[in-house]
């Protein structure tokens, strides 16, 4: 038949050919969400108390941040002379702009908290046992999330942001050998400026989200590969279908996360400070809240607070799956009762040591006296040094008491975490000239 007739023939058969193509897609028509999930899961994985849904909460926050971030990218301008103006435009000119911005900011803060809680949950249940690779992937994700939070902080280009980033970048100078190079590479110079803004924007909007996407996919795939959530090795257990049980619970958690962050965005304000002024430092210059604990510790000793303490924490986290090789009580919250008692006692010990250390150094006169000590004494005796010492004491004492490495590692970690959280609180309460004042 001629071309015209063939064409008409095909057009007439259009509905049928569409239906046929749809049919031939076959297996690929299956639901993507179901494909991500295993077919059957343990009933225990459905209970809220198993993980408190922290992984899903973090994922939901990440998706919310990605969506709101893309919307903000449509209006934001990453150059010093127009950044603040574009923030004002987003707040006032763009319809729902202020709401989207507040969603993004509050979700960002919430994500740092959620990632930390998720990490602590995995530690507390020793869920890295048998899944060491996923644990280290998780640590990489922690670094990426902190990097995203930090790079995003600068973009508003107000006084708070500008000087917070300058201070936090200066913390890098304390790292031996490589610190100065990292700082200059990050800032595009010694000081925060136009190069820094562009670099931070590229990191925040392209490079780090790309990295996050890759590692999150790997992280989730490893969960499937490792046969689901960590659980006690009970051989026979009732399995339930993932659909609808697990998927429905995930949907509820995700909606709840969006709802709660949305509520915060409606009720609270995320204002803009005065526009960034490179000639006039803010007083006090404070790093973002997730780094201010570090800043507080560094203020006493750059070596101990800026290098040794973070290194201790980092080593503790990285080596945890290698030093804790027990098979019992995996997936269970802090094993046998004695373990809980020991951990509680160590936490209390850590808290008391921290309070004592800070109380000793809090008064300005004591602080000034400390600054006059010989360098070695200054570096050894300060809140960070005392924290490391207390962690070591906890490690050895609990290790000898229990005869196992797991409680010892948990003890060391809990002391370091208590010191970090405490230092964050103290740092947050500091005002002009780095003077401490109670928040009430």
């Amino acid at each position: 038949m001629g071309f015209g007739a063939a064409l008409l023939d095909n057009l007439r058969a259009l509905p049928a050919s569409i239906e046929a193509s749809w049919q031939s897609a076959g297996e690929q028509r299956r639901n993507f969400v179901l494909h991500l999930h295993p077919v059957r899961i343990t009933a225990r994985a459905l209970r809220l108390g198993t993980t408190f849904g922290l992984g899903i909460i973090t994922l939901a926050l990440a998706l919310l941040l990605a969506a709101t971030g893309v919307l903000l990218m449509l209006y934001y301008s990453p150059a010093p002379e127009s950044a603040y103006g574009s923030m004002l435009d987003i707040e006032h000119l763009v319809v729902f702009g202020g709401f989207v911005r507040r969603l993004h900011r509050f979700a960002g803060h919430a994500m740092v908290v959620a990632v930390g809680l998720h990490l602590l949950r995995v530690c507390a249940t020793s869920a890295f046992r048998g899944r060491e690779l996923n644990w280290w992937i998780g640590l990489v994700l922690l670094g990426l999330v902190l990097g995203l939070a930090f790079t995003g902080y600068l973009l508003v280009w107000d006084q708070t942001a500008y000087w917070a980033v300058q201070v936090a970048a200066n913390l890098l100078d304390n790292l031996p050998l490589i610190g100065a190079y990292i700082k200059v590479g990050l800032l595009g110079g010694e000081r925060v400026g136009a190069a820094s803004l562009l670099r931070f924007y590229t990191l925040h909007a392209a490079l780090l989200p790309g990295g996050l996407l890759g590692f999150v996919i790997w992280h989730l795939w490893r969960i499937r590969r490792d046969n689901g959530l960590a659980r006690p090795p009970v051989p026979e257990e009732a399995m339930v279908p993932a659909w609808p049980n697990l998927v429905l619970r995930e949907v509820i958690i995700m909606l709840a996360v969006v709802g709660i962050v949305g509520l915060a965005a409606v009720l609270l304000d995320a204002g803009l400070g005065p526009p960034a002024d490179p000639l006039h430092p803010a007083n006090p210059e404070k790093a973002p809240w997730y780094f201010i604990g570090l800043q507080e510790l560094v203020s006493y000793s750059a070596l101990t607070g800026g290098v040794l303490f973070p290194a201790g924490l980092f080593l503790c986290l990285v080596l945890m799956p290698l030093l804790d090789r027990e098979e019992e009580q995996v997936g269970v919250w802090i094993g046998p009762r004695t373990d809980r008692l020991l951990l509680g006692a160590t936490a209390l010990f850590g808290l008391l040591t921290f309070v004592a250390a800070e109380a000793a150094f809090l008064a300005p006169d004591n602080r000034a006296a400390h600054a006059r000590w010989p360098a070695l004494a200054q570096d050894l005796i300060n809140p960070a040094g005392l924290g490391l010492l207390a962690a070591l004491i906890g490690f050895v004492v609990i290790g000898r008491l229990s005869g196992r490495t797991r409680p010892a590692l948990r003890a060391a970690l809990v002391v370091l975490v208590v010191f970090l959280i405490g230092a964050t609180f103290i740092g947050a309460c500091r005002g002009p000239d780095w003077m401490f004042s109670w928040p009430w």
Partner: protein
């Protein structure tokens, strides 16, 4: 596939509550947007039955790189005869040549021009400070961004404030030389501070230790509290100091050095000399020698210049160089003026 939903009661309740929460939040956001202050004001304005029919955001892109959206709420301010929904006084006569349609509003009135929320728009950027030059006595300070104080009609208050600055001895500790600091400078260069509101300045004058416990500045309460005019003049001048110069003044009196001291018909030196320098006025014996002694570089005798760190340069701008401290003070609305 069969869609069999779990009939667990708690789960159903959880789903319902979370969906409800998200729906409520979205509804609140939409309502907040529809009831934005500027939308309500415009609706009221249109209800007055005005010929001018418009809706939406009204922007002025000023030659100084700012964006002023004030006319979105301050309706009628751009039309000479239309009624206004927000009570405004008409611009004074010397505002001719300063049309808001061209220059915008914030260049004279301060505030955050890009904002549409009154709490943000009527305040210094990033602060809750709501009296940045909005009050008429202090609006004159804005004139100094382009004009020498006192050189144009309407800026007499700032000129009087400059004289007070010298006679009260402010320049002894707060230097005004282009280089900024040096020698006797105990206090910060007032040109390099961020924009201060009259309230903050009043506190600094009457209670210097209120914000800075270690300040050695004396209190001016006794000399200024009784004389409200003098206080207002001085505050206007100090506010003017913190504003960034926007343009080189076109006043002839500043373009030639000699006419710093000489005034006369249109800046031509000659005829009757009138020294506007306060110091010379009370020491007539120094009148001629100071400038006409060939062995003394002109002006070097002047204790004002020596002790007050060339305070005259506060107004006479050809020596005010950008980046010498004056340039990057918090600008009165937008950060666009960074060099």
């Amino acid at each position: 596939m069969a869609l069999k939903v779990d009939t667990n009661r708690r789960l159903q309740l959880g789903l319902l509550l979370s969906v409800l929460l998200v729906a409520v939040v979205m509804a609140v956001v939409v309502v907040q947007e529809l009831r934005a202050p500027w939308r309500r004001l415009q609706a009221q304005y249109l209800a007055l039955g005005v010929d001018e029919a418009f809706t939406g955001i009204r922007e002025i892109n000023t030659p100084h790189g700012r964006v002023d959206r004030c006319a979105t709420c301050h309706l009628g301010s751009l039309a000479a005869t239309a009624p206004v929904t927000v009570k405004l006084e008409p611009h004074p006569p010397f505002a001719r040549g300063h049309e808001p349609e061209r220059l915008g509003c914030t260049v004279c009135h301060g505030g955050t021009g890009r904002a549409l929320n009154p709490d943000v728009a009527h305040a210094l950027p990033g602060t809750g400070d709501r009296d940045p030059l909005l009050e008429p006595p202090y609006i004159e300070a804005s004139c100094s961004q382009c004009h020498v104080p006192g050189a144009v009609a309407g800026s007499e208050r700032v000129a009087r404030g400059a004289e007070l600055y010298l006679s009260l001895g402010c320049a002894m500790c707060h230097p005004l030389a282009p280089g900024g600091r040096g020698g006797w400078d105990f206090g910060p260069d007032l040109r390099s501070l961020a924009r201060q509101s009259p309230t903050q300045l009043r506190t600094s004058l009457f209670e210097p230790t209120a914000d800075y416990p270690r300040s050695t500045m004396p209190s001016y309460e006794t000399s200024l509290d009784r004389d409200q005019t003098a206080l207002t003049d001085l505050l206007a001048f100090v506010q003017a100091l913190s504003l960034t110069p926007l343009e080189q003044p076109a006043d002839a009196r500043v373009t030639a050095p000699c006419v710093d001291c000489h005034s006369g018909s249109r800046g031509l030196a000659g005829g009757r000399l009138e020294h506007r320098c306060t110091y010379i006025k009370v020491r007539p014996q120094l009148v001629c020698a100071g400038c006409h002694d060939p062995e003394v570089p002109a002006g070097r005798f002047c204790p004002l210049i020596i002790e007050h760190r060339e305070a005259c340069r506060a107004c006479h701008w050809q020596s005010r160089t950008p980046g010498a401290g004056a340039a990057l003070a918090g600008s009165s609305g937008e950060p666009g003026e960074q060099p």
